[in-house]
């Protein structure tokens, strides 16, 4: 760890202030941000969406646009101010001196150019090397980022690669000219947990080998603990705290940092880290005070907090500073007792929804792809079943089949004993009413041109023939803890979390028996996630609604689900009560999922090989009659797993694992392995 005041930092940001054009004027989005990154250091920048962290990242690359204005500040790199460089000099620095890894590799890569050629473009722009030497370098870079170092791999187009591989290409591109500084803007946000873990391991490995400095921008504090040395916490355009990563988790000084940590869903609620209260309220840019921007949401705020500007000041501990005038006085908070299981589900009666032998396939003939194979599933009234798995595991397809958006090829679905038609148009109105779907992205699931009132009033009008009633809408908004005044607004005047609440309120307006939540939290910030999660738990307890909760986030699943079903490539590999699934014995895939979740301060060994040997060539190949997980499994039995379907082993009441291994072999307590274990 390097202290802040390193004599010769790799990069230094001084008093940076940036504004975006809005209407006729400008709005300040980054306000007097300063930090320095030492050579070889990984500096994490964390904050909720809209806090200005990505703007800071772009400024380091000297990004300019007519819609933004740099009001003040310098970005010192290599003895020069990046912000003051003329265009030609900036072009030489970008890519060669400071490189950038974008958030979404699918849009960052040109879909029409082979990936090798895209990396070659950078080399051609910045080096004098001959084409043959450049191709040599491309192969070396592929090797460096863990892609096959062959011409065949370099000749692929982006769409022929998985998301993780695409991100590896983007990283290779960033590293092409041996930059001294790499800016990573949410590089794993769109990826599966297992892939995310591999990318983070790769970055840790590259940094150890190449010794470059990094700025890692993310909203995921847990993830930062895996890779960063120091963390800067931003709020509403200001840097509110800078500290070594361990201190952030063990002794957060700023109230916002505490709230952020308190909002993290944890896989291990029994951890020793200080539990803090989750954040309250929301960032409202229109009423930011003169002083501390966090004052309106802070439980320790005094009138003076909102009045006086609070600059970032050293705390005395090396490398730490905080922008809060009261940080010394604020006593460590009482750990909030973790209430995992509200006593809901009492008086649970019969099965609400039953799926028997459901098979779902897309396409026909040679293009036929079987997304779900022979799934059995049952949800009791008032019960919450979580479907867990990476993308492509078929979890959303199952939800779509239950909703009637895709007809199963075989098998039957019954709701309260009555069979459900495959197509939603063939179902009765009452069946449609009783199953409600909440989508992942509230931006897309709310009509942008309809007011909140119309969105919420419509289901009641449609199903119950009620006239749109302002007081009913106000009650519905109140149920999801929104101000009734929102009824007159349009969705784009709400924040992401508020929009998701509206989507939930709209689903509830139909008075459903089953609420299907398809990744409803993944588009939201952590603090918003925590509050929406709390909302779902409360609604479930109050109304006894059954839920099908689809998520890739095991920490969230652990807080909400009664039962968990782990899917891999369209098959159930493990199913059981929540506590049984999160405890040994594990299916090898369940184990890799659980181990991939970043646990604050439990940093893994640097090796890139986890228990999950991701071999995309295998993952995409048509699979044999055996285990779906064969080919990626770390404990695969050669000659058996590929060819023979594994038996379903009963591990306890309602807990079943589909694996060739005996249960005792799967029980090895490796849920959180010691450092040496994963390196293999």
């Amino acid at each position: 760890m390097t202290p802040t005041g390193a004599p010769d930092p790799a990069l230094q940001v001084e008093g940076l202030s940036v504004s975006y054009r809005k209407g006729a004027g400008f709005v300040r989005v980054v306000d007097d941000v300063s930090f320095a990154v030492a050579r070889g250091e990984v500096f994490g920048l964390v904050g909720e969406s809209g806090c200005g962290k990505s703007t800071v990242a772009l400024q380091i690359l000297g990004y300019r646009s007519p819609l933004m204005r740099t009001d003040a500040g310098r970005v010192v790199f290599g003895g020069a101010d990046v912000l003051a460089l003329p265009r030609a000099a900036l072009d030489r620095v970008r890519g060669a001196g400071i490189a950038f890894v974008p958030q979404n590799p699918t849009t960052a890569l040109n879909p029409g150019i082979r990936v090798g050629a895209q990396i070659d473009e950078i080399l051609a722009a910045h080096t004098e090397a001959a084409p043959a030497a450049r191709m040599e370098r491309v192969r070396a870079l592929f090797d460096l980022v863990g892609l096959p170092a062959t011409d065949a791999a370099a000749a692929k187009y982006p769409h022929q690669m998985s998301g993780g591989q695409q991100q590896r290409v983007c990283i290779a591109m960033a590293l092409a000219c041996d930059p001294a500084f790499v800016v990573l803007d949410e590089p794993t946000t769109g990826l599966d947990v297992t892939t995310q873990r591999q990318i983070v391991d790769l970055l840790g490995d590259l940094r150890a080998r190449l010794g470059m400095s990094m700025l890692y921008v993310t909203h995921d504090l847990g993830l930062l603990s895996q890779i960063a040395d120091r963390v800067g916490v931003m709020y509403a355009g200001r840097m509110v705290e800078v500290a070594p990563v361990a201190d952030i988790f063990t002794a957060p000084a700023h109230p916002y940092t505490r709230g952020l940590i308190g909002s993290l869903p944890r896989l291990d609620p029994d951890t020793a880290a200080p539990a803090a209260r989750p954040l309250r309220g929301l960032l409202r840019r229109q009423d930011l005070p003169e002083g501390c921007p966090f004052a309106p949401r802070c439980e320790h705020a005094e009138p003076a907090c909102a009045r006086d500007r609070q600059p970032l000041e050293p705390t005395g501990t090396p490398g730490r500073s905080v922008a809060c005038r009261r940080w010394r006085e604020i006593a460590p908070e009482i750990p909030s007792s973790e209430v995992i299981d509200p006593a809901h589900g009492a008086g649970r009666s019969g099965q609400l929804l039953v799926l028997e032998g459901v098979r779902i396939a897309y396409g026909t003939g040679r293009r036929r792809f079987e997304a779900v194979r022979a799934i059995d599933l049952a949800i009791a009234e008032g019960e919450t079943l979580a479907l867990v798995g990476e993308s492509g595991s078929g979890k959303s397809t199952i939800a779509r089949a239950i909703a009637g958006l895709v007809a199963p090829e075989a098998g039957r679905i019954t709701l309260a004993g009555a069979p459900l038609a495959g197509d939603v148009a063939d179902r009765t109105t009452d069946q449609r009413r009783r199953i409600q779907y909440v989508f992942q992205n509230p931006d897309a699931s709310l009509n942008p041109r309809a007011r909140i009132l119309e969105a919420i009033a419509r289901p009641a009008a449609f199903f119950f023939g009620r006239r749109p009633d302002a007081s009913a809408v106000a009650r519905a908004l109140d149920d999801v803890r929104l101000d009734p005044g929102y009824a007159a607004r349009f969705p784009d005047e709400l924040s992401g979390g508020e929009r998701q609440r509206v989507a939930i309120a709209r689903a509830l307006a139909a008075e459903p028996a089953l609420l299907m939540c398809d990744e409803v939290l993944s588009a939201l910030d952590v603090s918003v996630q925590a509050s929406v999660l709390e909302l779902l738990r409360r609604l479930r307890a109050e109304r006894g609604i059954a839920m099908l909760f689809i998520s890739h986030d095991l920490a969230v699943v652990r807080m909400l689900a009664d039962r968990v079903m782990v899917l891999f490539r369209g098959e159930v590999v493990e199913t059981g009560p929540r506590e049984a699934v999160f405890a040994p014995p594990f299916h090898p895939y369940s184990r890799s999922l659980i181990e991939a979740v970043p646990v604050p301060l439990r940093r893994r060994a640097g090796g890139a090989a986890g228990p999950d040997r991701l071999r995309p060539d295998v993952a995409e190949a048509p699979r044999g009659p055996g285990c779906a997980y064969a080919g990626r499994c770390a404990v695969e039995i050669a000659g058996l797993c590929v060819g023979t379907p594994p038996p379903l082993r009963t591990a306890g009441p309602g807990h079943a694992i589909r694996c060739h291994h005996m249960l005792d072999d799967l029980s090895g307590a490796r849920a959180h392995p010691p450092a040496g274990n994963t390196a293999q």
Binding site: T55, S65, M68, Q286, T429, R432, I435, N441, S445
Partner: protein
């Protein structure tokens, strides 16, 4: 950043118009000025035009351009400038109402076809392609011929013909945006609820396609005066002595050598209207199509 805050909504209409004017591209500002002149002339012209539109012997026949007769006089001694001024509202009314009708029909057909999809969409699209493949003037003449002589010179027929020519083209654009919007989750939500096709079109598709349709309307309206003028020029439009611009040009085309102002005058009026409409349209399309929002993820 919270986009489009309530602050925008509280501001009065005038300051918002002023802001819109300042942010509009220069071409659009020019277009707005030209259009405003045309609208004012069309609305007030009949009250201040120096002569009546069919008043003969207003000046010496074929006297050429002068201060008294800026666009000259025709063989009957009618003042062409007065005729052009009187004709403004006719051209605008025919062009705009025809385009509006085409927009309504095209939007309904296009949104419906795009939303239901399947074989209905296939059939509708092939029909639309067949209509589009016929050059628009030929299509217009065919429609007029089919209507028969009892309809000839009837302004309603002109409006219907303009609508017929534009509806298929607008329907294609509406269909394209319906196909895109139909994949969004809020449409899926409506479908899961069991909403009918027309309810989905009205509540979910149309409000989100207004941008596309508005641009399409403005684009088509920009060429509609040319279509109306062409029909008039060919003698399939309104009947003389209606001062429709295409008809004026047609009547005076033989005088192009003797008294060029009689043709150039109404030609200029038509051209400036089309240029104004197009400048306005282009700016509108650019503003409505501007979706890049920096800082948003």
């Amino acid at each position: 950043m919270p986009p489009s805050s309530n602050a925008d909504r509280r501001v009065g209409l005038l300051p918002r118009l002023a802001l819109f004017w300042r942010q509009a591209p220069l071409g659009m500002q020019i277009g707005i000025v030209i259009l405003a002149v045309h609208l004012v002339v069309a609305a007030t012209g009949p009250f201040w035009a120096p002569y009546g539109y069919s008043q003969m012997r207003a000046g010496m026949p074929l006297s050429g351009a002068s201060w008294a007769h800026p666009f000259g006089t025709d063989q009957l001694g009618r003042d062409i400038f007065s005729r052009v001024v009187h004709g403004g509202h006719i051209v605008l009314a025919l062009a705009l109402s025809g385009t509006l009708l085409g927009l309504a029909a095209g939007a309904v057909i296009g949104l419906w076809s795009g939303y239901v999809g399947g074989w209905i969409d296939e059939v509708v699209q092939r029909l639309i392609e067949a209509l589009i493949s016929i050059p628009f003037l030929v299509l217009a003449l065919m429609a007029i011929a089919t209507a028969g002589p009892q309809w000839s010179g009837n302004p309603v027929l002109i409006v219907l013909v303009v609508a017929l020519v534009y509806a298929p083209r607008i329907a294609r654009m509406a269909r394209a945006s319906a196909v895109e919007i139909a994949t969004r989750d809020h449409v899926t939500v409506a479908r899961l609820r069991g909403e009918g096709a027309f309810s989905v079109m009205r509540r979910e598709l149309l409000p989100n396609a207004t941008g596309v349709l508005l641009v399409e309307f403005a684009l088509r309206a920009g060429y509609a005066p040319v279509l109306v003028g062409s029909l008039g020029f060919l003698g399939f439009g309104l009947r003389p002595p209606t001062p429709e611009w295409g008809l004026i040009i047609s009547e005076n085309r033989a005088l192009l050598i003797v008294s060029p102002a009689t043709v150039i005058g109404p030609g200029l009026a038509l051209a400036s209207l089309v240029v104004g409409l197009n400048l306005f349209t282009e700016g509108l399309a650019r503003i409505l199509g501007r979706t890049v929002r920096l800082g948003a993820q």
